[in-house]
């Protein structure tokens, strides 16, 4: 089972410079945990372990194929072989 994960420039320090890595899992949360096992520290950049329950960080955009996972089920979003997950840090400021 293989899901392609596209990594933005700023997170490539966790992937030895790779702009794309592969992982497995049946939900986005599981996929991220799987990536963490090979790319330590990546999970903390994506997930806020938080007080109540873990959630995707607010200013990181994660997309499953073309959809923003905020409009799906966040970390519980089901993922499957052949999917592409894209991570883009939000561009924002004040």
């Amino acid at each position: 089972m293989s899901i392609e994960v596209r990594i933005p420039t700023i997170l490539r320090t966790y992937t030895d410079g790779a702009k794309q890595v592969e992982g497995t899992g049946s939900t986005l949360g599981e996929l991220i945990a799987d990536l963490e096992s090979r790319h330590a520290g990546l999970s903390a950049r994506l997930i806020d372990a938080g007080a109540q329950s873990p959630a995707l960080r607010r200013f990181v955009n994660v997309y499953l194929n073309d959809e923003d996972v905020r409009f799906l089920s966040g970390l519980d979003t089901p993922v499957k072989d052949g999917d592409t997950v894209t991570v883009l840090p939000a561009v924002a400021g004040g």
Binding site: P8, T9, I10, F59, N61, Y63, D66, D68, R70, T86, L88, P89, A90, V91, A92, G93, G94
Partner: protein
């Protein structure tokens, strides 16, 4: 140093003026590794605020994918300040996430003139750089 054509400089200023008093934001894409801004991509400010900006997530995916397909990268990310100076705020610094990008700040606080300055933001450190406009 940021080298930018007069045409792109004027387009950024016009965008900032048009959206004032909301902050305007956008990207100048250029060939990957060239450090040359070529393509003007004004973005929607999903916050529509006079003090905050955020690229709409869906639009950002489309634009970033397009740049990838064109072998381009975001050479410049610009936004405007509508009441303060053209200098990165603490918020701007904390969200800066493209290490190779020139961050352009424009200020529209003065009706008569527009400030246009450029910076690198790396590891939370701001370094101003000269802007060279090619006529």
């Amino acid at each position: 140093m940021l080298t930018i054509s007069r045409d792109l400089y004027d387009k950024i200023v016009a965008h900032a003026r048009e959206d004032h008093p909301d902050e305007a934001c956008g990207v100048l894409a250029g060939p990957a590794g060239s450090d040359r801004p070529e393509r003007f991509i004004p973005m929607e400010n999903a916050e529509r605020s006079p003090t905050f900006y955020r690229f709409d997530a869906k639009e950002q995916l489309r634009v970033w994918r397009e740049m990838d397909d064109n072998d381009e990268e975001p050479v410049v990310i610009y936004h405007s300040h509508t009441a303060t100076e053209a200098y990165p705020s603490r918020t701007d610094v904390s969200y800066a996430s493209e290490p190779d990008t020139h961050y352009v700040l424009v200020s529209t606080r003065d009706e008569g003139s527009t400030e246009f300055r450029s910076y690198r933001i790396l590891d939370a450190e701001v370094t101003e750089e000269p802007v060279v406009v090619m006529e």
